[in-house]
Symmetry: D3
Subunit: 300 residues, 6 copies
C-alpha cells in the first residue's frame, strides 16, 4: 500500500480531519511521491485518488490541484531538476499552510482597534485566534458571542475567551440584532465553511441573519478564511446544497416536521472584507485570488 | 373595600392577568361605579387608582383612559342620562373587548390564501387563532415556526397547531432567513407586546431579525394586535426600555456575562399591515387609531 | 320588473359599463327606490341584487355600500324625513360622481409645472384629462407615452394628445427606463384599475416596471383614481387575482405557451401621491379614505 | 491588393459580420502577414487599416490590439523566432476565438440547476447555446422569453428553443416583472452588445428594466459575453451613445414623434456575474480582464 | 380705515412678522369683525383682504382660512348665536396659537432621553425651546450645532444654549455627517419653514444633506412645526420655488457666478416624526392634519 | 552628512512638501545610493531613515517601499548588474511620478462629455488639471464649486477656473445637495488625501456628504488619485484617525466647544471610479493595484 493510499484512507476514515490538516496530509503525500521520482502523469493519478477520499471537503481538491498546478509549472525541466524544484515548491506551500492560521490572526488583529467591541457567531478557531492576538497586543476588547443553537458551540467560544481574560457577553441567537445595536458593536467576525467565486460565504446557520442586521446598523462584517476555503467550482452561494442535520438535535415533537440546516449563505454584498493568509481583500477579489492561485483553467 | 379597590388589588397581585383580561376587569369596575352613581370626578379618581395597580401593562391605562374619554363625552348630560348613556357606552366597549380576538382571527384569516406557507415566531394566541381560522375556512396552509430560545415557546406553538391538523415545520431561530427563502414563505405573522405611535412593534426577542430577513426576501410582515396594545405615550420603538430577564434561562458559564433581553423592536418600515379588531391598517395609521380612540389630548 | 331589476340587468348585460357609469346607475336606482318609500331593509335587499349583477367591478359594491351607509345615518328619523334626507344625500353623492373626473383633472393639472415633461402608460381618460387641463391652463408640457403592447392603446393616447396640440413622444414599452432618463421626465401619471387598502395599485400590465424605473431615477409617480376605484376588500395588491387575456393577442407560435396578463401590481412604496376627487393624498391614506367613506365596519 | 486590404474591404462591406467572425478574419489576416515576414511596424500599420474598416464594432479593435500586444511580447526575439512564436501565439488566440462560444455554453450551463426556470430577453445565440447545453446535460429547465418589441426577435428565441424540446413561455415585454414573480424565475441571462470598463452592460433595449425588476425580486442576472465584447475605451455605460433606429419600426402616427433606441444600459450593480470564455467573473473584474488581456496602456 | 385694513397694512409693512404673530393678528382682526356683527360673506371679504397682505407667508392664509372654516360651521345658527359661538371658536384658536410654542416644547422634550446627544441646524426658536425644556426637566443633554453658512445663525444657537448651561459643540456645516457618526448623535431636530401635503419639509439650506446623513447612520430626524406651517396648497416639496438670496452674503469673486439658495427640501421619507402643538405625528399624517383642520375642500 | 540624511531633513522640516514632491525626493535619494554602490541591506536602512522623516505622509513610505520592492526583484543579480538594473528601474518610476499628474488629467478629461456640468469640493490641483484639460480639448463644461469652510479654498478653485475661461458657479457647502439637483450636475470629481485598501476615500471634510447626495441623485462620483495616495496599511476608511485642526479657524464663542475635523471618509460604495496614472478603476480594484504594485507581502 503506497503512501498516497494510506493518506487517502486516513482522510476517508476521518482519521485526518479539519480543512487545514487534510490539505497538509494531501500535499505531503504528493511531495513524497515526487521525491520518489514520480512524473506529472503519475502525480495526477495520485491526485485524483486523494480527491476521491472526501469529495465534500473543499480544502482537499484545492490542495491537490494547487500541487499539480505547481508541478505543471516545472514540466519542461529535466527530471532531476523537476523533482528538486517541485519538492521545493510544495514545501513552500506546506509552510504557507502551516503558518496560515498565525498569519490570519496577525492580519485580523490589526483590524481591531483598542477599545472596540467585536462580535462572533458559533465557534471558529480562526476567529478566536484573531481575538486572542488582539488581546495579546494589549488592546482592550470586548466580545459579544451568540450561543449557536442547536449545539451551543458559542458557549465554548465564550468559555475559552473568558478564560483567556477577554470580557465576553453571551446572548441567544435571536438577540443578535438588538444587542449589536445596544452594545454598539464595532465589527463582526465570521469564520468560513466555504467562500464561493463571487465572494458569497457559506457558514454556520444564522450567519446571514447577523450580516443583514450588521448591514442595517452600518457595522462591518469581516470573514476570516484561509484561501483553502475558497471553492473555484462554486459560483453562487445560493446554488450551494446545504446539509440538513439530524432533527433530533433540535427537538422531537410528534406530528411536527423539524428541519435542521447546518449552514446558510451570506451574500457578498453583506461582507466588507475577507481576511486570508495572503492579506485582506474585498469579496469581489475572491475571483482574482482563485485565478491567481489556480489559473484561468480551473474556473472554466 | 370598594369594587375598584378589589379589582386594583387583583391586578396588582396578578390574580388578573393578560392584556385583555386586565382591560375588561378595569372597564367593568368603572362601569359598576357609574351604575352606583359616580360622577366624572369620582370616576377619574378611581381610574388613577386602577392605573397605579400595574403601570407597566399598557392595556390598563388604555382601557381606563378610554372609559374616562367616553364619560367625558356625556359630561353635559343630566345625572340620570349621564349614568344611563355612560353605562351603555362602557358596555359597548366591553363587548368590543370580549369579541376582539375573534374579530382579529376573522380579519387575519382573510389575509391568508389557500395553499400559502405562513411563518410565526414564539407563541401568540392571537396569531394561532388566525391560523386556526384559516384552516377552519378550508384553506390548505403550512406553518413555519421558530422555537424561540431560551424558553422554546415555539415548541408549544408547533405542538398546538399540529394537533389541530395544520402541517407545521419547526426550526431553530437562526434558520429563519435561510428557511423562509427555501420554503418560499408567503407571509410572516407576529403578535405584539406593544405598538408605538409611529407604528413600531415591540415583540418577542428575535422578531426584528425575522422582519429584516422578510424585507430582504420581499415577504410581507403582518402584526396581529388589539388596539389595547397601542401605546399613546410611546413614540419611538427605539426609546422603549427593554426588560432583561434572568440570565440563567440562557446558561451559566463562569466569567461570562449573559444578557437575556425579553423583547426587541421592529421598526415600522419593516411592517406591512397591522391587524386589529377595527380592521387592517398600515403602521403609519397607528397614530390615527390612537387619535380617533383617545383624542388629540392623549398625544400631547 | 322594478327599476332596480332593470338597472341590474343593464349592468349584467354590459349595456351600462365603465366604473363611473355603473356607479351612477346603481345610485340612481337606489335613490328612486327611496323616493318610492322604501325603508332601509328594502334598500339593503335591492343593494344586494345590484351588487350581484357584476361582482368583479369594484365601483358597483362601492357605490351601493356607500348609499346604504348614507341611509343608515338617517335610520333614526321618522319615515318622511328619512326619505327626504336620504334622497338628498344620494343626490349629493351623484353630483360628486358626475363631477369627479373634472375635479381630478383640475387637481392633477396643478401638480404639473410649466415646461415639465410628463409620462404615462397605456390609455387613461382620467390622465388624459389632467394633461389637457394643464395644457388648457397655458402650461407648455411634453408627454412621453408608451405604446402598451399587445393592443397598443398608447398609440391612441399619443394620437389624441397630439391632435389636442400637446407635443407627444411615443416609445416602445421596453424603452421606458432609458427614455425617462434621457428625456429627463419630471413626473409619471398612471390611471387605476383598483387601489387596495394598503395603497397598492392594480393597473395596466407594465405599470410596475415603469414605477421601479421611476423610483430608481427619483421621478415621482402619481396615480389618478376616483375614490370609486378603492377596494375596501382588497388589502394587498400582491393577493389580487390578475386576469389572463387571450394569448392570441400576443402571438401564436406552435409549441410555445403564451401568457398575457392584463394588469400588474405597483406596490405603494413606489407611488408618491394618489389624486382623487377628494384631493391629493399619499398611498398610506387609502386606508383613511376608505374608513372615512365607508366606516370601520367595511374594513372588518 | 494585399490580404489585409481584402479583409478590411470584406469587413467594411459587411461581407464579414458578427462580433466573432470579424475578430477571426482580422486575426487571420495579421497572422498571415507575420508568416510573410512582416515586422512589428508593418503589423501595426496593417492593424490600423483593419481597425478603420468598421470603427463601431468593438470586437475589431479588440482583436487587432490583442494581436499587436502578443507581437510586442516577442519583439526582442530574432526575426525567425519572432515569426514562429508570433504565428503560434495568434493561432492560440484564434483557437480561443473559435471555441469561445462552446466554452461559454459549457460554463453557463453549469450555472443552471435541474428544475430551474430561466429568463432571457430578445435573441442571443450565446444565451440560446447555454440553454441548449443545460438541456443536453439532462436538466429539466423552463424558459421565460420576452418578445422584444419592435422586431419581436424573442418570438424566434421561443420558436428555436421550443423546437429543441425546451418548454418555453412567451410574454410581452411589459409583463417581465409580473411574470418573473409569478413563475418564480431562478435566473436571468442576457447576451451583450458591449461591456464597459466598470462592468456596465449595453444590451437590447429593455434589458435594464428587467434587471431592475430582477434586483427587486432577488433574482440573479447573468451576462454571457465573450471577452471580445469588453470595451477598454468605454468607462461608463451611461456615457455610451445609443443608436436610434428607424421610428417606422414602431409606428407612424401623424404629429407624434417616435423614438426607437436600439439598446439601453444596465449598470454593473444590477449584474451578478459575467460568463466569458475565460470563466465566470463579477462585473467589478471587467477592469482586471481588460488589464490582463490588453495591459495597462490601453486604459490610459 | 377698518381694523382689518390696519392689520393688513401692518402685515404688509412687516410691522407684524413671524409666522405665529401674523396668524394671531389676522385671527384677532376677524374675531373683532364678528364681534361687530359681520356675517359670513363680510368675513370672507375681509379674509381675502388680509391674505393679500403677504401672500408668501403660509401662516397668514392658514389662519384666515381656519377662522372662515370655523365660522362656516356656525352658518346655520341665528345671528346672535352665530356671533357668540364664532367669537368663542376663534378665541379658542387664539389660545391654541398663543400656547403652541410651549406645547411643542413640552412634547418635543419628552422625545429626548437623559444623556442623549441631539443635533440641530441653523437657528430655530422652536427647537431651542425643546432643548431648554429637556434641560429644565433635568436631563443631561449635549447639543451638536452647525454654524449655518452664510450668516452663521448657528453661532447664535450655540451661544444661547451654552449660556443656558447646556453643553454645546459647534461644527462647520460640512462636518455634519462625520461628527454625527463620531459623537454618536441620538436624534436630529429641525425647525420648519413649510411642511407640504405629502410631509416634505422646506427648511434652512443644508437640512436635506443632514437628513441624508442621518438616514445613512440610522439616526431619527424630528421636525418641530406648528400646524400653521403646514401648507395645504403645496403638495410636493420638490415643486416649491426656493428663494435665492443676495450672492454677496457668500462672496464676491470677479467672473464667478454665486448662487445663494435660502432653503432646501427634505423629502418625507427622511423624516421620522413631526412635532406639532397637536401631538407627534408621522409625515404621512400631514395630509390628515390638513384634512382635519381645513376640511376636504382646501385640498381640492 | 549623506544625501539620504539631507533629503530626510528636508522632508522633516517641510522644505520638501506635497505628496508627489516628497516621493520624488525619496526615490532620487535611494537611486543615488544605488549608484554609489549600496547593496539591498544598506538601501533598506536608508529607506527606514527616510520613512521616519514624516510618518503621516502616505506617499513617503509608498515611494520608499516601492523602490525597495524594485531592488529586491534584482537581488539575485551580480553587483554591477544589480546597480545598473535597479537605477534603471527607479528612473522609470521617477518618470512615472513626474508624468502622473499629466496622465491623470488626460484620462480624467476623457470622462467629461461636451456640455456637461461637473462639480468639485474644496481645492485639488489634480481635479483642476482635469477640468482645464477638458476645456483645452474644446469641451463646453460648467463647474459647480463649493466654498469649503472654514478656509474657503473653494473660492480659489472658482477664481482659478474662471480666470482660465471656464464658467463657474460657487455655492456654500450646505447647498451642495440642492444645487446638484437644480443644476443637474453630471459628475462629481474629488481629489484624495488617502485611498484605503477597500477603496474608501479620505478627503477634505464635507466630501462624504456630497457623495451621499450624489448617490441619492444617481450622479457618478469620480476620485482623482495618483497611486501614491493608496495606503496599503489602511484597510477601512472608518478606522483612519482624522486630524482635528485649530478651532479658531471656525469661530471663538465663550463656553462653546468647537471641533474642526480636517477630513472625512467616503465609503467605497459611494465612489464609482478612481482615476490614477495607471488608468481608471473601480474602488474594489484598489486592492489589486496595491497587490500589483507592492506584492502580496505588503498587505500581510
Amino acid at each position: 500500500m503506497s503512501d498516497v493510499d494510506v493518506v487517502a484512507e486516513s482522510i476517508e476514515s476521518m482519521k485526518v480531519r479539519g480543512a487545514r490538516d487534510i490539505a497538509i496530509a494531501a500535499a505531503e503525500a504528493l511531495r513524497d511521491l515526487v521525491k520518489e521520482g514520480a512524473n506529472l502523469t503519475e502525480l495526477k493519478i495520485a491526485g485524483e485518488k486523494l480527491k476521491a477520499a472526501r469529495p465534500s471537503a473543499i480544502s482537499l481538491p484545492n490542495a491537490v490541484d494547487y500541487c499539480i498546478y505547481l508541478s505543471e509549472g516545472n514540466e519542461v525541466m529535466p527530471p532531476e531538476q523537476f523533482k528538486e524544484k517541485t519538492v521545493s515548491d510544495i514545501e513552500s506551500y506546506l509552510t504557507e499552510l502551516n503558518t496560515s492560521l498565525e498569519r490570519i490572526a496577525k492580519v485580523g488583529a490589526e483590524l481591531i482597534k483598542d477599545g472596540e467591541t467585536v462580535m462572533t457567531h458559533c465557534q471558529s478557531d480562526t476567529v478566536a485566534s484573531i481575538f486572542r492576538k488582539a488581546y495579546d497586543d494589549g488592546k482592550k476588547i470586548k466580545v459579544l458571542a451568540t450561543e449557536a443553537r442547536p449545539r451551543h458551540q458559542g458557549h465554548l467560544t465564550a468559555k475559552i475567551l473568558a478564560e483567556y481574560g477577554i470580557p465576553v457577553t453571551l446572548i441567544i441567537d435571536s438577540a443578535a440584532h438588538y444587542m449589536m445595536k445596544k452594545l454598539r458593536v464595532d465589527k463582526v467576525f465570521f469564520g468560513a465553511d466555504t467562500v464561493t467565486v463571487d465572494g458569497d460565504l457559506v457558514n454556520k446557520i444564522g450567519s446571514s441573519q447577523i450580516a443583514l442586521a450588521a448591514k442595517h446598523l452600518d457595522i462591518p462584517v469581516l470573514v476570516a478564511a484561509e484561501s483553502l476555503k475558497f471553492n473555484p467550482r462554486s459560483i453562487f452561494g445560493r446554488d450551494v446544497e446545504i446539509e440538513m442535520r439530524d432533527p433530533k438535535e433540535v427537538a422531537e415533537i410528534p406530528g411536527v416536521e423539524i428541519l435542521n440546516p447546518a449552514f446558510d449563505v451570506t451574500e457578498s454584498e453583506y461582507i466588507d472584507m475577507i481576511i486570508t493568509e495572503d492579506g485582506v481583500m474585498p469579496p469581489a477579489a475572491a475571483y482574482s485570488l482563485l485565478r491567481e492561485k489556480y489559473g484561468w483553467e480551473i474556473l472554466k
